[in-house]
Symmetry: C2
Subunit: 121 residues, 2 copies
DNA sequence: CTGTATCCTCCGAGATACTG
DNA sequence: CAGTATCTCGGAGGATACAG
């Protein structure tokens, strides 16, 4: 559970709280599997095996690890239903779901940037 | 110059162009030094040595590598002034500067999320 | 079904020295 | 000043097997 530590704390124009906020956000977005996992949860609760099935090539080790990290970071909620056999469901927290606004900004910039690059050939 | 390849192309709810756009954006934000480098360019052109001085602990190797990558991705423009000795300046492209909108969204979410996490202790 | 435990590989990044 | 060339290493992530 290591913290990514961006090293521009000394740049005077960046208030420390802004830098921390960007750090927090990057923490939730970086790594190979976090975005794919979040994508599977957009339309509601899912069980471990469902998520695993929807993400080609992910291993249970990585899925477990990333879900635990997302839970610790308050992005997803894990619920144990003690049926037989037990089933476990993952879903976004309210705050976790709101990261969609960041993704929207990324989509918008990404599309515009690709267009801008194409326009100069 | 490897491309980060997010592996959720098969998730039907994500239009491929949106996935590509998020990929493009992540490409520009990930890694240890890209954000610090961009932060130094917010207020205008800078020379290699100036950027190096403003970012503690970065090595010329990494600065060179990241600047080249940002240039190839159309984020920064590199200008050679053939004075004696030559001086070289780096600055945002128009499209590169616009990534600030993404950072704004990240700051907003990051601050709100931190607050949300604190509120439930 | 919902994960852990081991072992292993590869690459991002650091250290250091050098070049035009 | 504006970089490049080597060498090295830790850690993210993969493969495979196993557990409750």
């Amino acid at each position: 559970m290591k913290e990514i530590q961006l090293d521009f704390n000394d740049i005077k124009e960046c208030p420390h709280s802004f830098v921390m906020a960007v750090n927090d956000t990057m923490n939730v977005l970086t790594g190979k599997w976090k975005l794919p996992i979040m994508a599977t949860l957009i339309f509601g609760k899912k069980r471990f095996k469902e998520i695993e099935r929807e993400i080609p090539r992910i291993t249970p080790r990585m899925l477990s690890k990333e879900l635990r990290e997302l839970e610790l970071n308050g992005i997803v909620k894990r619920t144990v239903h003690d049926s037989i056999p037990v089933s476990i469901e993952y879903e976004f927290t309210t705050s976790g779901r709101a990261i969609k606004h960041v993704l929207d900004a990324m989509v918008e910039w990404g599309l515009e940037h690709r267009q801008a690059v194409l326009n100069r050939h």
